[in-house]
């Protein structure tokens, strides 16, 4: 049975579809779509955009480049910083009809530890996702590409909170299974992958890079085969649950991600094409139960 409830992190989620961090601003969506968003909330758990200790403006525009089957972004983790997140956003997120997973990133272990500690006791939060893999900030892929760094960072944080920790892995490693194992052994409760793949676009009017951040991160259907390969390899290596994402845009894609070993499926770029993508993908996933029964 695809699309049924999922037990994870000591909670029961209504179904396996969640959002990829940074691809759905539930608070902005609430203002744009009003109360219908609550009634038809498209995700079983909501993952916040990555926050950092200090506020960040993000990268200069242009931040987007379109591909035939996806896009490259150089958003650069704009966020209001931990203090204003706690004051302004956390109470609003707590009102959402889905449990909250907070994505955090730090430029050092201490920074990340401070963020996790400040949030570690908050009952509004179900789990933390540790973004070890943003290609748009300098330190992002460094931690995520090294099993030792990943283990060191994860165990540092393990000591600071009781809450479940999800390590978000870089797709830039040749051995994502080793990184995932390192995270598991250091106390992570789940891993999520893939984050965007480092990419670049050249300014059509000639010369340098198009994106304000120089390079960027590739996402969407173009990266789905990479995601499937990495998710299945990681899922074979670890016991902890895997949150699989990368290019999922329909129910069949979601089923393939689950078949590859994922426990939850993340929807990212497809949210931009369809604000209710999560709802549609879940419905399509459940419909596949019907057709697979018929086939037998």
């Amino acid at each position: 049975m695809y699309g049924g409830p999922v037990k994870i992190f000591g909670a029961e989620l209504a179904h396996p579809v969640v959002n990829g961090s940074g691809t759905f601003d539930a608070l902005a969506a609430r203002r744009v779509f009003g109360e219908q968003l609550d009634a038809r909330f498209p995700f079983a758990a909501y993952v916040s955009k990555t926050i950092t200790l200090e506020p960040r403006p993000g990268n200069p525009p242009p931040r987007l480049w379109e591909l035939g089957q996806g896009m490259i972004n150089s958003i650069g983790l704009p966020n209001k910083g931990l203090a204003r997140f706690i004051e302004e956003d956390l109470p609003a997120y707590a009102m959402l009809p889905a449990p909250l997973i907070v994505s955090v990133m730090g430029f050092s272990g201490d920074e990340l530890a401070a963020a996790v500690e400040a949030l570690g006791e908050r009952s509004e939060i179900l789990a933390f996702e540790l973004n070890f893999s943003c290609p748009n900030v300098e330190t992002g892929n460094i931690v995520g590409s090294s099993p030792e760094e990943t283990a060191a960072m994860t165990s540092l944080l393990r000591g600071r909170t009781e809450k479940p920790l999800i390590a978000k892995l870089s797709p830039s490693s040749a051995r994502p299974d080793q990184i995932a194992l390192a995270a598991e052994q250091a106390g992570a409760n789940a891993v999520s992958l893939i984050n965007t793949l480092p990419g670049m676009a050249v300014d059509p009017s000639g010369g340098g890079p198009w994106l304000g951040g120089g390079g960027g991160g590739m996402s969407g259907p173009a990266v789905r085969p990479v995601a499937l390969a990495q998710v299945s390899r990681v899922a074979e290596a670890v016991e902890i649950p895997v949150i699989g994402m990368g290019g999922v845009s329909c129910g069949r894609d979601a089923r393939e991600m689950l078949d590859a070993g994922a426990t939850l499926v993340g929807v990212g770029t497809e949210n931009f094409r369809d604000p209710a993508a999560g709802e549609r993908i879940l419905a399509e996933l459940r419909e596949l139960n019907q057709s697979s029964v018929e086939r037998k």
């Binding site: 902005a28 038809r40 242009p62 896009m71 958003i75 604000p275």
Partner: protein, 276 residues
Amino acid sequence: MTQACVTAPFGRRSAPVRSIERSGPYTFLRALDAAGPKPRAGQFYMLQTARGWGGGDDGRPYLPRALSFARVEQVNGGLELTYFLESVGPGTARLAACATGEELLIAGPFGNGFDLDRTRPPVLVAGGVGLAPIVALDDKIRKTDGARSTVLVGMRDGERAAAITKFGVECGIATEDGSAGHAGYVTALLERELEDGHDSTVYACGPPAMLEAVRALCSEREVPCQLALESGMACGYGACYGCVVPTVDGYARLCVDGPVLPGDKLETAIVKGAGH
């Protein structure tokens, strides 16, 4: 800006093309929105075709495209939305190649729209496809409110200026090739207009260079202006953080904090990657 928001239906919805009409390089695309609320002038929609969205230049388009509505009319079965576009790349080319009866997927209306100040005479300035939200605002002022407005439109050439007649907008015209109205930029007409009356508010939409000239003119004369800007958008509803433009208060997401921004919030209306 302080104003009552129009709430968009959640998700994207089917909207059949009722008619499509070409005028020189421009296309008038009319679609039936059976489920949406009445939009405010200056708001926009994200559009894609239900089939055959992709496979153009570089395999694009992939993401939906932002288009302002130019006209909204209550018809049998919902609202008829008129979009006004020029084909400049694979997305607009695909939309311009739609057939009558073809299914569009639309989401919206999104963005803030113009904040009409009824205490000051409105001067509306449009350039090129920037005419779309200006027609919408002019309809609101003249047809709905029965008030007066001054409209100034700049077009590159006579072929493009012909679209103004199709909309039936009464306005001052400037063409760069001199084939209709004033020969030169529309900002020359605005400069003349602002000589007589400093008590007006300017509402403008057009290419970045035009908006920047309007912003500078208004700023020198201390005339308030509202500029409908453009930037590359992936989602249109605040999800991606891709559409930011620099303002005096830092980066603003144009899709939710705009697309209309007060001129005094901008140091420049020229944003890299926006417009063409």
